[in-house]
């Protein structure tokens, strides 16, 4: 096969090159062969064209693999035939090792992930020198006091950001932790701004580190009983603060930090430090029912997913996530802790969206009525019900040190 290889300048040439790559891949040439060299060259040219023409249009290759694993309910060990060994699978999924051409070929053939996705470089956070610092929500960070007394005016943005991130690690370390090297999951139907998420994550870690904890976190301490006990605090007048204290006494950080634009974040949990799981809540909705459900959802991740593949969860809880096992599990456990299925199924609250039905079940469960009302609104798929109840209990007022948007 005679193939003329040249720099790709047009979309037509790009498509033609992709076809050629596919053809060569199907032939599976020896690594030292001329065809293999041509293949490598073509891939380089395609990558070069893609990075200029549509840099953000393709997903991250590891994200694509994780997505396919989720779709096909695959475990990491199921990738061994394509990637070579258990350790290689682990390194690829944690972004410690790049994909080789033979891996790309195997993944395309075996799992149907397009080569053009797999050959894409991982995103900019991989290399600190590639980070575009201006993409961070700098003005908002400054407004929130993330940079202390330093101002953006006349400042070296890179230095400012490095200073901001320093307490939680070097920029590449922390950003790698947040976005690359550790496995993470973002639950949202909307795209979330990764720079904003990183800034938010760094801030909650910094805040969590400032708290002193009377003990070290013990794996296994968070379970349904623990969560139900915590939920019963909801009836107290200042329950968000009591919850914060209760968790602190169990070496779990509960940090409140508003979300950034384009993140739609309700909360997240960072489980990278095995001695201190950190829950961050944004109080995006200033409602007690949201506070409690989000808190329970993040705690459920600690109860169920601590020390497993994914150790960062970012949650936009506006919609259910039926596709992701961990999210469904966390939703279920959070629901059980607040309003157990058995009680719910046999309660008038399931049938009639009335305040008295909410009040009655709340009293039976020993939780705040807004929690039951929130459940009723959610299950009834109508957010008009019981507005007077759920809107009466605000949460942000307990955190006056934060400058909340009006």
């Amino acid at each position: 096969m005679t193939i003329k290889i040249k720099v790709i300048k047009t979309e037509e040439e790009y498509k033609e090159s992709l076809k050629l790559i596919e053809k060569l891949m199907r032939k599976d040439p020896d690594s030292n062969s001329e065809e293999s060299e041509k293949l490598n060259l073509l891939v380089t040219l395609v990558k070069d064209y893609e990075s200029n023409a549509f840099p953000d249009s393709l997903p991250d290759p590891v994200d694509a693999i994780l997505f396919r694993m989720e779709q096909q309910n695959l475990k990491p060990r199921d990738l061994i035939p394509y990637l070579g060994s258990r350790s290689k699978v682990s390194e690829i999924l944690t972004r410690k090792r790049p994909l080789t051409m033979s891996m790309i070929r195997a993944l395309e053939a075996g799992l149907g992930i397009p080569a053009k996705v797999l050959i894409k470089e991982s995103d900019e956070f991989r290399n600190e020198n590639d980070i575009v610092w201006s993409k961070f929500p700098l003005k908002e960070m400054e407004k929130r006091g993330y940079f202390g007394k330093k101002s953006l005016t006349n400042a070296n943005i890179k230095e400012l950001m490095q200073d901001f991130l320093r307490p939680v690690g070097t920029p590449s370390e922390f950003m790698g932790m947040a976005m690359l090297r550790k496995s993470y999951y973002i639950r949202s139907l909307r795209p979330m701004d990764k720079q904003a998420l990183t800034a938010w994550s760094a801030q909650i870690v910094k805040k969590a580190k400032r708290i002193s904890y009377p003990t070290k976190f013990k794996s296994g301490v968070v379970n349904l009983v623990f969560m139900q006990k915590l939920a019963k605090l909801s009836v107290k007048p200042n329950s968000p603060l009591l919850a914060q204290d209760f968790l602190k006494n169990n070496a779990i950080a509960l940090v409140i930090e508003p979300h950034f634009n384009k993140t739609y974040l309700d909360g997240g949990v960072i489980m990278t430090n095995k001695e201190l799981p950190i829950i961050g809540l944004t109080l995006r909705y200033d409602r007690l029912d949201n506070f409690w459900f989000t808190l329970m959802h993040e705690l459920a991740h600690i109860a169920l997913h601590y020390d497993q593949n994914i150790n960062l969860f970012y949650d936009d809880l506006d919609r259910a996530d039926f596709n992701h096992k961990e999210e469904a599990e966390a939703d279920y456990l959070a629901g059980e802790a607040l309003v157990s299925k058995s009680k719910w199924e046999n309660s008038p609250a399931k049938l009639i969206p009335s305040p008295i039905a909410a009040e009655s079940l709340a009293r039976e469960l020993g939780v705040h009525v807004v929690i039951v009302a929130g459940k009723m609104r959610h299950e009834g798929e109508s957010y008009q019900y019981l507005n007077s109840i759920v809107n009466q209990e605000k949460v942000r007022k307990y955190f006056p040190e934060i400058k909340w948007d009006k």
Binding site: N346, P348, L351, I352, P353, S354, P355, I356, A357
Partner: protein, 364 residues
Amino acid sequence: MFDSKHYIPILKWKPAEQQALENLTDKEKELISPLIQLVMPQPKLPKLGKIEKSREEQLEEVEASLKIKLPKIPEEILKSWGKTPAFIDFSLIYTDPLRIESLNQILPNAENLGLFLIPVVNLSSDIGVLRATSILAKKYNHGICLRLVPADFADLAKLYQEIQNFLMVCSLSEKDVDLLIDLKEKDYEYLKLIALSQKIPNLDKWRTFIFASGAFPIDLTKCDIGENYISRSDWNNWFEQMNSKKLQRYPAFADYTILHPIQKESVRFFSPSASIRYALKDQWLVMRGQKGKTVQYLANAQLLSQAQKFNGKFRGAGFSFGDNYIAEKGKDLKSPKTGNATNWLTAGINCHLTCTVSQIANLP
């Protein structure tokens, strides 16, 4: 026949009302004389694809339908109420000839069955109706009931004259006549009307003296889903007067139970809300549900009978048929037998009747 410690519920003769009466105990019935308000049957819905009948045709249809029903009414009354005194009002029958025909059919048949029915007339009744009524009243010697409404009190001199004319036309004296003053929904005129009623000539001589009004709203649109309280101002007004020590003659209590006095006929295709109406001492508790969601009857029943909040308000399953119905329905939220609007109206009316009788029985 009875004094002020007696209860006259005004009930349209429909299935829910009949069943509510039927499920009272004999002891409860002793303190009650219902006023049965006969109503016209509803025209049938046109069959699919058929044009609706004209008004004239519908009138003919319901008249024919009533005529078919008339012979059965005394038996229905016997079954639901029994042989103790009850009032019967024909004024909602559409035409005077039909009213007279109804009187002439029902009262003799009732007499044959041993019923004690007292026909009700008002000052604006057609002379033919008055005559027919008075003839039967005299024949069966059960007396007659004169029902006055607020408009009758606009001119007192005229009112007194019309009362005299009425007695003369019927050849009756006050001792044969039960005097019912019916405010209907005009509860706000209670004090004015009760004061005027005290000026009616020979007030002490009338066989009985009854004051009626209805405070239940025409519908539940002002109620929220869930728990609502509506003042039983009809009862509260009467109770206040009973304790006033100011009246020359104290009236017996009459009301429209848990229905509005001027209740509209059912609207076609109307799906009622799954609500429970429950009489308390001086309020009604309305557990409002949503339209068409009959399973919410069960939810409301469970809340009313089991929720801690209603301890002390719900009187318990043993109190009445209606209370028992609520308690039983509240036991199983998954039951397919939710009960329909008629069943729940029956329970609500029965609870109201029992509650009111109990209140009257316990008056000092």
